[in-house]
């Protein structure tokens, strides 16, 4: 529970920290798409250099990012494994009927592995360097055009900011309840699967109860303070687009050009 890095904010004052959340969001989402342009080792090396540069600029130790990968590592390895087994082509090393381990399979598996890790790293950069509240402001601003289509953008971003706001509380509370049940003799991560699942009941029930209570308190407080959902509101925190934000998007454009030049056309060499 304590190892969960994804979605946590690390305070700091790096170049990346000071970027506008809109720029960071656009750049990160764009990066995920641009990643699919890579198709040979030159492009992957280039993307790794870019990712490393961004991580270094964020001024947060690489160990934090690696910890962010850890909860997802089995999912990634499973996908890579399937890719390795079911891609044919090139030199074949192991042949078991429909299942083969081939040169192309291994290369493809490795590329997919890189792709996953880079996606996680880059999205972790965004969440680690942006306050959750700024992130929702950014999202709200980016989704604003959808308002014309009657999408309740403001409500959605309010919901998002409230849930993000309570993640740390929920984690602290989980820790507290776990400690309390441990003190009453519960042993976590022991025994059969069924037994382990049973030990979760004494944790989740109190957490549900307290979350529901808190939600009700919150709703009451909002109502008392006159919150209404269907009014046009101004914002307290103003986002300001600066030169460095434009620069960061230009960097993304340059990255695209570089990838287009470096990538090999057609399949195989």
């Amino acid at each position: 529970m304590n190892k969960l890095i994804l979605g946590r904010y690390f305070p700091g004052d790096s170049w990346i920290h000071r970027l506008d959340p809109r720029a960071k969001l656009v750049a990160a989402i764009y990066f995920i798409f641009v990643l699919f342009l890579a198709n040979n080792w030159q492009t992957y090396v280039f993307l790794w250099l870019f990712t490393t540069a961004v991580i270094l600029l964020s001024n947060i130790s690489i160990r934090t990012y690696l910890r962010g990968v850890r909860p997802l590592i089995w999912l990634i390895l499973f996908t890579v494994f399937l890719q390795v087994l079911f891609t044919a082509g090139g030199e074949i090393y192991v042949d078991l009927g429909p299942i083969t381990i081939s040169k192309f399979g291994l290369i493809n598996g490795f590329y997919i592995f890189c792709r996953f890790i880079m996606i996680i790293f880059i999205s972790t950069v965004v969440t680690l360097t942006t306050k959750p509240i700024d992130l929702t402001d950014g999202m709200n601003a980016l989704l604003r055009p959808l308002r014309k289509l009657k999408v309740p953008v403001d409500e959605l971003s309010l919901m998002l900011s409230i849930s993000l706001r309570f993640i740390p509380n929920l984690l602290d509370e989980t820790q507290k309840v776990m400690d309390a049940q441990r003190a009453r003799g519960t042993e976590f991560g022991e025994g059969s699967l069924v037994k382990q699942m049973k030990t979760l009941v004494p944790i989740f029930l109190p957490l549900f109860v307290s979350s529901l209570n808190r939600a009700e308190d919150m709703a009451n407080v909002m109502e008392v303070r006159g919150y209404q959902s269907d009014v046009k509101r101004s914002t307290f925190r103003q986002l300001s687009w600066q030169q460095k934000d434009t620069i960061s998007l230009l960097v993304m454009a340059m990255l695209t050009v570089a990838l287009l030049v470096l990538r090999s056309n057609g399949f195989g060499h």
């Binding site: 946590r8 984690l171 309390a180 003190a183 003799g185 004494p202 109190p206």
Partner: protein, 287 residues
């Protein structure tokens, strides 16, 4: 059987999420004798709660060792020791009602004993005894803990700890958030249980009147260190020293000091409770 608690140059960190608080306990040496009733006081963040958690193996020191009775906890794996310690040490957290989860009060109280291998029949009979001890009616056993009032929930939660029949009772502000009468009743109930079962009890509190009324010894914590460990009566003697730690004085003692200043007469002894103060006033003939 009462057990002693000893801390031997214990240093520990506390980690929650990515935030690591270094040295929440900083080379602590402390000996709480068997059968003692100790109050731990200090500011928020001074390490009181961490001290309690270390007594239950919820915080493992990276340096030094904690000894509970015959069992020792130090850095590294302590699986067996932890189980033994958690059976002997009953820990009541702050706002313990947030740990209630079972469908009925009875099941919740039985949860602890069952985890430590007590039979269901025995656990149920213990539940009845402890429920009476915390001042609740047996009819409550079949109710859902969530349907109870705040004060009742608190009592049920405490009963769930007492049901483990611990030799050591550790409580983190058991009266927090209750009305004055409810708080007094809870503390009196704990004191009665402490005497009856000859427990070693440690309690965290912010209320100096609680310290004066219920505790024998007092431990002051500051920045993860124990700055004072003394008998309650001698602790409240030197008021200047108390001011330095920003520690309040119990009401009776404060009144005593005021009377001494106004009349210029020094009362015999340190008065911690109002009856004591009344006796002292009669003795010197002021009233």
């Amino acid at each position: 059987m009462a057990m002693q608690i000893s801390f031997d140059s214990v240093t520990a960190d506390y980690q929650i999420g990515p935030i690591r608080s270094p040295r929440v306990l900083d080379s602590i040496d402390l000996l709480l004798p068997a059968g003692s009733f100790t109050a731990v006081i200090g500011h928020t963040g001074s390490g009181k709660s961490s001290l309690l958690k270390a007594m239950n193996g919820l915080i493992i020191p990276y340096d030094g060792k904690v000894t509970i009775g015959q069992t020792t906890i130090k850095a590294g794996k302590n699986k067996k020791a932890l189980r033994a310690i958690r059976q002997k040490v009953g820990m009541v957290f702050q706002f313990p009602e947030s740990q209630l989860f079972a469908e009925t009060v009875e099941k919740d109280i039985c949860f602890g004993p069952l985890n430590f291998g007590v039979s269901l029949v025995e656990a149920k009979s213990i539940a009845r005894v402890v429920l009476k001890q915390v001042g609740l009616e047996p009819s409550i056993l079949s109710k859902s803990p969530l349907s109870l009032s705040g004060g009742q929930k608190r009592r049920v939660a405490i009963a769930g700890i007492l049901a483990m029949q611990p030799d050591i009772l550790v409580l983190d502000e058991p009266g927090a958030g209750l009305d004055p009468i409810g708080k007094r009743e809870i503390l009196q109930m704990i004191t009665a249980w402490h005497k009856e079962k000859k427990l070693t009890t440690v309690i965290v509190t912010h209320d100096m009147d609680d310290v004066a009324l219920y505790a024998d010894d007092v431990v002051v914590m500051e920045h993860g260190q124990v700055v004072k460990h003394d008998k309650v009566r001698s602790f409240f003697t030197d008021v200047n020293q108390l001011n330095e730690w920003h520690v309040d004085v119990p009401q009776a003692r404060s009144l005593q000091l005021q009377i001494e200043q106004e009349t210029g007469i020094k009362l015999p002894g340190v008065c911690l409770t109002l009856p004591e103060l009344a006796d002292a006033l009669i003795e010197v003939g002021i009233v």
